[in-house]
């Protein structure tokens, strides 16, 4: 029996006082998409969806929910992969997608202030037109920035530029009791007490609701060149990465990919990949002021790669060439999804020197268990995406195989001193594995923080660190 209040007509009437009825979805008006995210197996309909347009509206809804003890689940574009935006306790879902405005571009401080519903791809386009650059580059470009902040999304440029947390300067948030509060700001440095802003980034909507974000921008690099590097074996490809990382040049991205995933992507996009001579590839990207400057960087990287057995280095130095590769890379998740009936993922991150060991482990596991497991990932930052495919397994066998495969992989990641999630978050799906991987004291601290922010536990209950 849930401890949360079940909504009735009086709640609808009350919430309609704060938010116009036409922006509230109730009972049958709630579309199926609000019951799940993009990958997690968990599904549950909220009882009400409120499409907020301001922090003030969110504040009133939260205050009401807090008083009545109604569960509140924030949701952006629903592109999450671990169930963070699934309303497990039903209640109210706060949809932030209408809060999709650019509020301010401050070129003196190089910051961009946005509402949480702005899409990642819109941010990229908006700032690049002005010669500026928002570096975090997760594959899912239709995610909202609010969602990116909630999971501390990483993406492909993390090797050189870091992750979302590194580009959030300040936030406006609504606390569980309805208080509207600002954390951080436009300042570059900040040693003023505990950094609540950094704590909120990555908290998956369990601590508060983000209603505004001040993002840090950089000048846009003038040029970039990608190198697609075919290797005879995946082990050779990944084995080269630590040597590249420890050389004096820093690529913006270092990805690894295997032939079979590339073929899935060719089929999914209906477009041939520009090369097919090898089973394994590294994909590197460099940026800089000019093509000449960049070619100096990759000359030294080329020597390293060739010494390690690379068959060649293919140069993507124009928009068309880069698009032919990166479009394929960007479609990997959807392409793998399209190649099977159902799948689940492991988003572990291991020290960069251990990527090869982990990938080899996954290959062996695949053979041992006799199931299809596909992987690709950010070789440069140690974050791997491993997908376990259901194919034609029945419910029982799938549950059994999935559990076993997950268990083995997380165990291996722990052994290599890795972490449960590199960028997708914990949500519901990875909760047991987080619990196993962190010290008890660490979980206790997290639970204490959650209680301090949300004493009545109304915000996104049962996620991350709470059973």
């Amino acid at each position: 029996m849930s401890e949360y209040k079940v909504l009735d007509a009086s709640d609808l009437e009350a919430i309609s006082q704060y938010v116009p009825r036409e922006r509230i979805l109730w009972a049958d008006e709630i579309n199926e998409e609000y019951s799940h995210d993009e990958l997690s197996a968990d599904a549950s309909y909220p009882e009400m969806v409120v499409k907020i347009t301001s922090a003030e509206e969110a504040s009133k809804v939260m205050r009401y929910a807090n008083e009545k003890h109604i569960a509140v689940t924030p949701r952006g574009a629903g592109t999450g992969l671990v169930g963070s935006s699934v309303a497990v306790e039903k209640g109210i879902m706060i949809d932030t997608t209408l809060m999709n405005h650019f509020l301010e571009l401050d070129e003196k401080n190089l910051t961009l202030t946005v509402e949480p519903g702005v899409l990642l791809m819109e941010i990229g386009q908006y700032v690049e037109e002005k010669g500026l650059f928002y570096p975090p580059d997760p594959g899912e470009k239709t995610a909202t920035i609010g969602g990116n902040i909630s999971t501390n999304a990483g993406g492909m440029r993390a090797v050189k530029y870091g992750v979302t947390r590194d580009y959030v300067r300040g936030l406006e948030v609504v606390l569980a009791d309805g208080t509207i509060m600002e954390v951080g700001g436009k300042v570059v440095k900040n040693s003023s007490g505990y950094d609540l802003k950094d704590l909120i980034v990555g908290s998956e909507g369990t601590l508060c609701l983000v209603t505004k974000a001040i993002l840090r921008l950089l000048p846009l690099p003038q040029k970039n060149v990608s190198l697609l590097i075919p290797f005879p074996t995946l082990a050779q490809a990944i084995g080269t990465v630590p040597l590249i990382v420890s050389s004096n040049v820093i690529p913006t991205a270092v990805e690894f990919m295997e032939r079979e995933v590339i073929m899935d992507s060719e089929e999914y996009l209906g477009k041939k990949f520009p090369d097919n001579q090898a089973d394994a590839y590294l994909l590197l990207k460099f940026d800089g002021a000019s093509v000449e400057e960049i070619s100096k960087y990759y000359d030294s990287v080329a020597q390293i790669c060739l010494e390690q057995g690379a068959l060649d280095l293919l140069i993507a130095d124009t928009d068309e060439r880069a698009e032919a590769i990166w479009k394929a890379r960007g479609a990997f998740l959807e392409a793998i999804k399209g190649s099977t009936t159902m799948m689940d993922e492991v988003d572990v991150v291991v020290p960069r020197s251990c990527v090869n060991e982990f990938v080899e482990f996954v290959h062996d596991l695949r053979k041992e268990m006799g199931i299809r497991i596909k992987s690709f990932g950010h070789a440069g930052d140690g974050n791997l995406h491993v997908y376990i495919l259901r194919d034609d397994m029945d419910d029982k066998k799938w549950a059994e195989m999935l559990g076993k495969a997950m268990e083995r992989m997380y165990l291996k990641a722990r052994e290599l001193k890795g972490q449960v999630s590199g960028e997708h978050g914990i949500g519901l799906a990875k909760k047991p594995y987080l619990k196993e991987s962190l010290p008890k004291e660490s979980m206790k601290l997290m639970q204490g923080i959650k209680k301090a922010f949300d004493p009545n536990n109304i915000l996104n209950p049962h996620k991350v660190c709470f059973d």
Binding site: F273, P274, Y298, A302, D312, L313, L314
Partner: protein, 263 residues
């Protein structure tokens, strides 16, 4: 089999700027690339060589810095390259360009198949290819969507027409222009780039040409004069629908279907 691919250097960015005073395209040598359409022609040439043997040569007309795209073609696998370059060739329209290229091609060698991209991203006329064939007095097929193969001294191609597709058998020597996406162009190879760093690029100027009449080249030889170049007005159409979900779904589906975005 001797294959020649005509290539052109174009501005590196799609955001082409027009000089408001002279009406001439602003060409910045530091930011240029091979015409993306020519990459498809070059890839077709390289594939034909792989399948049937022979040599792939490239030719371009342009200022000396256009040699960069010949080097690029070498890094993709071309065997030989020539540039047709002379101040006297400047300001050429499609007719004068085709004449100059045809003169250069005659000088460069005998070719069985001449491949061109459908059009360029800066000039956009799609006429230089066919006009070169006219000047060389050889058959031409445009809009080729598939090369089926080579049979003796013939090439088999599918030409896309507005309503139908024509299967054609064309005898050598001939010129064909290929559509975008006919093949996926390969990427330049670092190893080939290093290997061909010092490979010769043949240079032809006016004095090398069979036709020495200056009036057939450049601005003088142009039948058309550009009066004004200006950015086109956008023909982007935006429609907003505000209907229930099921009506919207139907509308979106029928729109996608009528625009042939769905198979």
């Amino acid at each position: 089999m001797e294959i020649l691919v005509c290539i052109k250097q174009v501005p590196g960015s799609n955001k082409v700027e027009v000089d408001p005073v002279t009406g001439v395209l602003k060409r910045n040598g530091a930011d240029s690339k091979m015409n993306p359409y020519d990459l498809y022609a070059l890839e077709c040439g390289l594939k034909l060589r792989e399948q049937y043997g022979g040599r792939v040569s490239v030719i371009t007309m342009g200022p000396p810095q256009a040699q960069a795209i010949i080097k690029e073609a070498y890094a993709m696998g071309a065997d030989a390259g020539a540039i047709v370059s002379d101040r006297a060739f400047g300001g050429a329209d499609v007719l004068a360009t085709a004449h100059t290229l045809a003169q250069g091609i005659k000088k460069f060698g005998k070719f069985d198949i001449i491949l061109c991209g459908l059009q360029t991203t800066d000039g956009d006329t799609a006429q230089v290819g066919p006009e070169v064939s006219e000047q060389l007095d050889i058959p031409c097929v445009c809009n080729v969507k598939e090369i089926k193969g080579v049979e003796g001294d013939n090439i088999l191609v599918d030409m896309e027409m507005a309503q139908d597709i024509e299967h054609l058998k064309v005898s050598f020597p001939c010129l064909i222009t290929v559509q975008k996406d006919i093949v996926q162009p390969r990427l330049p190879s670092y190893l080939k780039k290093k290997d061909t760093e010092n490979r010769e690029i043949v240079m032809y100027t006016l004095k090398d040409m069979e036709d020495q009449n200056k009036n057939n080249y450049g601005l003088n030889g142009s039948a058309t004069q550009v009066q004004r170049i200006f950015p086109p007005t956008s023909d982007k159409v935006q429609v907003t629908w505000d209907d229930p979900a099921d009506v919207l779904a139907e509308k979106i589906y029928s729109t996608i279907k009528s625009r042939k975005l769905l198979g």
